[in-house]
Amino acid sequence: MSLDLSVLAGEAVYLVAFGLLALGIFALIAHGNLMKKVIGLTIFQTAVILFFVATSAKWQATLPIVPEAGAAGPAAGYMNPLPHALMLTAIVVMVATLGVALALLVRLHRRYGSFEEDDLLDRVE
């Protein structure tokens, strides 16, 4: 008796993405350490990117590169390149956000010597 997993064939990646979303939110809520919150946020954002990229996948499709002009086959034979292009932008945005968050943390740590939210709230009078 074997378990039929074919139902998951197309959807497993979405389950992973939504699992990561939940994990990221959990880290954001449950941790008082600001650095761990940043890690949670990064996991969350990465899950969104995974979700987007997963929507471009197709069975029996190839890379969206046309070797020579006019030689393109039917669109169904190519993966959708748009989500990848969008996610390149989203990754840049994410990196910028991460950079600002880390810069703020560095300044907070230099001044108050802690990453723990409770300590910080005490020390920031």
Partner: protein, 498 residues
């Protein structure tokens, strides 16, 4: 010639000036603020020209880079976006002039970083308003947010923690929005708003549409700062440098509210909001809750800036309530409130910043005898407070009047009651401020020289000018409300109807 490029120029002018500003500042750091204000003024002039352009010749569409929509990114000026763009650009110009006049040490970096970030924020807000593409809107949201994080953090100390909290919540909100957009894209294969509106009816049966819309509403709700998603807002508005709050508080949250209205009515349509889902009701309740929670929290504050921050939560509730009711009058009221609240909250935060500078703090106790020390500032405070409370001819009365009409027309008596209750709460918290402003200091604080006349120390003319302009604007918006509503907002409110 210029009219075809108008939508793009609204973004390009502040963006280009902002990026060139560090170069200019190496020549002379004194040029930074005047150049910033000039860029803001040009943007505002273009935006106002855009309003007349739209009224005369219909919507202006601009295909970025010559790529036709739906493949390329489209910028659109229609009655709604032209109106919001004009409000945002004009009020921001006043804020920039005020920030330059205040010459906040927190923004006095050698390379003009402060003013450059302000312009970046303005460019991103204009981008959010004119874009016709859902993903482009996400990018502009994040550009605006990144500039905001840095500007809030410039306050140092507690502002760093406030900024960090906003980084976490703001990024979470943007990610929710992006996830919702991703679901819509997966369903329809397009990101262009007009194209999506055409394709969505075919996918409307899918259970994913409400999920996507819920995610978008939640994401934009965080950016708008409506209760209970307002966790970042009070600290950010209280501890950020006064010049920054003067730019953020009037317009930044309104732009997210505009984005919500744009997506709900241009993409999904009024029938979806009212009939096909519980969305309209949920939004109306969210707005009503925000009005009450923000108002009640504002009553409990002893610091002017914190009080105003909670009042913003309350006033954003009015806009969300108007959007949720989705009748012609409630939408006109919500859009008019974008203008009125931008004017009055700008005015109030200008006063708070000037008071912090001259009186040494914004705790209500610090404001005593302000009516003697800073008469012009106090006069503007009174005008803005009357608008907040809703006393004609100040503008605030009229937006709430249209909202009330909308609520009564559609038979939502509970929401009509909430609108009135919110006004009553505003009476109490604003008159509490005025009471302190007009009080004499406690005898114990006088150190003996109590009866000596203290000389006036009103803010400098460079600070007072934008303040007075906004105060006059509040009254003008009230007096001309009928022409604004009938000439422009009825058109804006008809987007997506039928």
């Amino acid at each position: 010639m210029i009219r075809h490029h108008l939508p793009a120029l609204l973004v390009v002018v502040p963006l280009g000036t902002g990026l060139a500003l560090p170069l200019l500042a190496t020549l002379s750091s004194r040029l930074a603020w005047p150049a910033t204000v000039a860029a803001g003024a040009v943007t505002a002039a273009l935006a106002v020209a855009g309003v007349f352009q739209v009224l005369a010749g219909g919507p202006v569409h601009y295909a970025v880079g010559g790529w036709p929509p739906p493949w390329g990114i489209e910028l659109v000026l229609d009655p709604l976006s032209a109106f919001v763009a004009a409000v945002v650009a004009a009020v921001s110009t006043c804020s920039l002039a005020y920030a330059g006049g205040l010459d906040d040490p927190a923004l006095r970096g050698r390379l003009g970083g402060g003013p450059a970030l302000c312009l970046l924020l303005l460019a991103a807000m204009m981008g959010i308003v004119v874009t016709g593409d859902l993903f482009n809107l996400f990018v502009f949201l994040e550009v605006a947010a990144l500039a905001t994080y840095a500007l809030i953090g410039a306050g140092g100390g507690r502002a760093l923690l406030a900024s960090f909290r906003y980084v976490i919540l703001g990024s979470l909100g943007a990610s929710f929005y992006l996830l919702g957009v991703g679901l819509l894209y997966a369903l329809t294969g397009t990101l262009n708003m007009a194209d999506l509106a055409a394709r969505l009816p075919a996918a409307e049966a899918s259970r994913l549409v409400p999920v996507a819309v819920g995610l978008i509403v939640m994401g934009l709700g965080i950016k708008m700062g409506v209760a209970p998603l307002h966790g970042w807002l009070p600290d950010a508005y209280t501890y950020a440098p006064p010049a920054v709050v003067a730019l953020l508080a009037p317009v930044a949250t309104k732009v997210a509210a505009y984005a919500l209205a744009r997506i709900l009515f241009s993409v999904l349509g009024v029938s979806f909001v009212l009939d096909a889902s519980v969305l309209g009701g949920a939004l109306a309740w969210l707005g009503a809750g925000s009005i009450l929670v923000g108002g009640i929290m504002a009553l409990r504050q002893d610091d002017l800036r914190r009080l105003l921050a909670y009042s913003s939560v309350s006033q954003m509730g009015y806009i969300v309530l108007g959007i949720g009711l989705a009748t012609a009058n409630s939408l006109a009221g919500a859009y008019l409130h974008i203008l009125n609240h931008a004017l009055m909250k700008g005015c109030l935060f200008f006063v708070a910043g000037a008071a912090a500078l001259r009186l040494g703090g914004t705790a209500l106790a610090d404001l005593r005898r302000m009516h003697r020390l800073m008469p012009v500032t106090t006069a503007c405070l009174v005008v803005a407070a009357l608008s907040m409370v809703g006393i004609p001819p100040a503008g605030g009365f009229f937006s709430k009047w249209y909202l009330l009409l909308g609520a009564v027309e559609s038979g939502h008596w509970v929401f009509a009651g909430v609108i009135l209750a919110g006004g009553l709460l505003a009476v109490v918290y604003m008159f509490r401020v005025l009471e302190h402003v007009c009080l004499e200091p406690r005898a114990a604080d006088d150190h003996g020289g109590g009866h000596a006349r203290v000389g006036r120390k009103d803010a400098s003319p460079a600070v007072l000018l934008p303040l007075v302009v906004l105060a006059v604007g509040i009254v003008a918006a009230g007096i001309f409300n009928a022409s604004i509503v009938n000439g422009l907002l009825r058109l804006a409110a008809s987007v997506g109807v039928g």
